[in-house]
Amino acid sequence: MNGALLQILLSGVAAGCIYGLIALGFVLIYKATETVSFAQGELMMLGAFAALALMTVLGFPYWLAVPSAIGAMALLGLAVERVVIRPILGQPAFSIVMLTIGIGYVARGAVTMIPGIGTDTHALPVPYKDEVRRLGALVLNVEQLVVIVVTAALSAALYALFRYTRIGVAMQAASQNQFAAYCMGIPVRRLNGLVWALAAAVAALAGLLLAPITFVHANMGFIGLKAFPAAVVGGFGSLPGAIVGGLVIGVVESLAGFYLLEGFKDIAAYLVVLLMLMLRPNGLFGESLRKKV
């Protein structure tokens, strides 16, 4: 393996981590409530804007702005679930998809309303901006390294949450069978709110990680559309699958950008997902489903 290929793989992995984090949000919400949130990319965009506002308008230092932005987004996730999602639980999945598309529209529109901030492109002033480490022939971009390290840490933390804490186990129970969980005394509705909060927090984190690489602007949420292929490739109901799917999509995309004709980079993710849906509709880690009458 030569240096250029390693370099491409590294940037692919970094992009894949972002896709994986957004996909993680889809999967969390899907597992808990069997609804698909099309607003996940917009939640990510709002998280990045929240951090930007905290740092530039209120003058927070970076290390304070990050947790406050994530916390604020978690609260927003909780509020969204309570106000608009909960009243229509039980309706056809299509309605809920349209509802989340509506939330995405509102979030994008509302951000552009903020005078002076919403319509421009901003750089998030992070302390590790434009730093580079050299490792032999390899040039390591610190922004990408941070993405990879934080994603790994977050995956470990989520694994621990679902494996060892009471609340994590309760969430797993509720996502496997809501009715049985309800009968066991698990407050399913409150948990659904918490899952939305968790998904929004993960999305905000993804936004914070992405911001130094692509800048903050109102349309950055469209990257969420590439996270759907990631979630499907990994299997829509699987948390590790979301991260693995994201990595697959990211790596394929950057390889396609290097080896194939111009234009293939943008659609590589979609070609991969179509192929996946034809060969293994349940994804790499998805459980096999068969409806019984």
Binding site: R108, G109, Y270, K291, K292
Partner: protein, 358 residues
Amino acid sequence: MRFLFKTSYAQDIRLARHGGDVATYAALGAALLAAPWVLEDYGLAQLTFVLIYGVIGLGLMLLAGYTGQFSLGHAAFVGVGAYAQGALTNAGWPFPLALAAAGVLAAAVGVVVAVPALRLKGIYLGIATLAFGFIVEEGLARWESVTGGNAGMHVKAPAMFGWVLDSAGSFYGLCLGVAVAATLGCLNLLRSPTGRAFVAVRDSEVSAQSLGIHLARTKTLAFAIASALAGVGGALYAHKLRFISPDQFNILQSIDLLLMIVIGGLGSVHGAFLGAIFLITMPQLIAAAKDVLPEAVAQAPGLQGLVYGLVLIGFVLFEPQGLYGRWLKVRTWFELFPFYRRGMFRRGKSFQKSERLR
């Protein structure tokens, strides 16, 4: 108050339920026919767009509202139709032939999508069509020898048999004819066994299958008809705008089309046209409201998205049956005047059936 007595089975499939319906739609038809002489150019253009979007919406309504398969890449079919029409018209084909070719080509593409989609349900289908939409958009942008790439493509005015339809009025007449034909075709389809099979597939695939409905064939047919109508609508759209480029057929347009049928009212033919009216008049209303709004809000480019999003959320939460459902309620209120009850249209709460194993 009107009592309908059913005296024959033929009454169940009659298009007009009673004399009042005939009178209403005759009046509507007369008004639409008179429009070129009454309206100014601008109003006529808006009405033409309503008809074009109505045709596209009809197809999507058949697919999403009646067969229950939703497509997040419907603009791609519109794009295929528009580009086919543009290329063929510029090559000198007469309009009716080019229109038919655009519809057939879009239908063929729809069948290609449907084949892998048959194994997929719900969200997986949505993502497959989404992915397909992106691929078509990129293909339109890259196939420069035919489509002109991102620079776009100019389309000539429709011409047939030595007669060029280049005035606003004549083109409106053409769109009206196509829209009426499409609507009657859809209504006819929906009262036929095929249309009933669509509804059965939407309501329960398992029970439809056990009644002898061939699921794969029915879904493929629904995709083919929906994309053919999208292709025809796209062909008219290309002639109306005279200029097409790949970014007119991207994911945002697909979402707008879905938004149109959801707001119009899923599962009703009226809904396709009511949604089209909403989609066309909303930007005007927003533009009118800009004069009253404060500067920062009025100048924001996302204002339209915000309004669309709020309206969509409002409809999903409070009126899932869309504009047509609301109209039915209002009409029933007047028909039954003092006897309308709040719960008359309430259905039993349908709990979402899990797709997971229990």
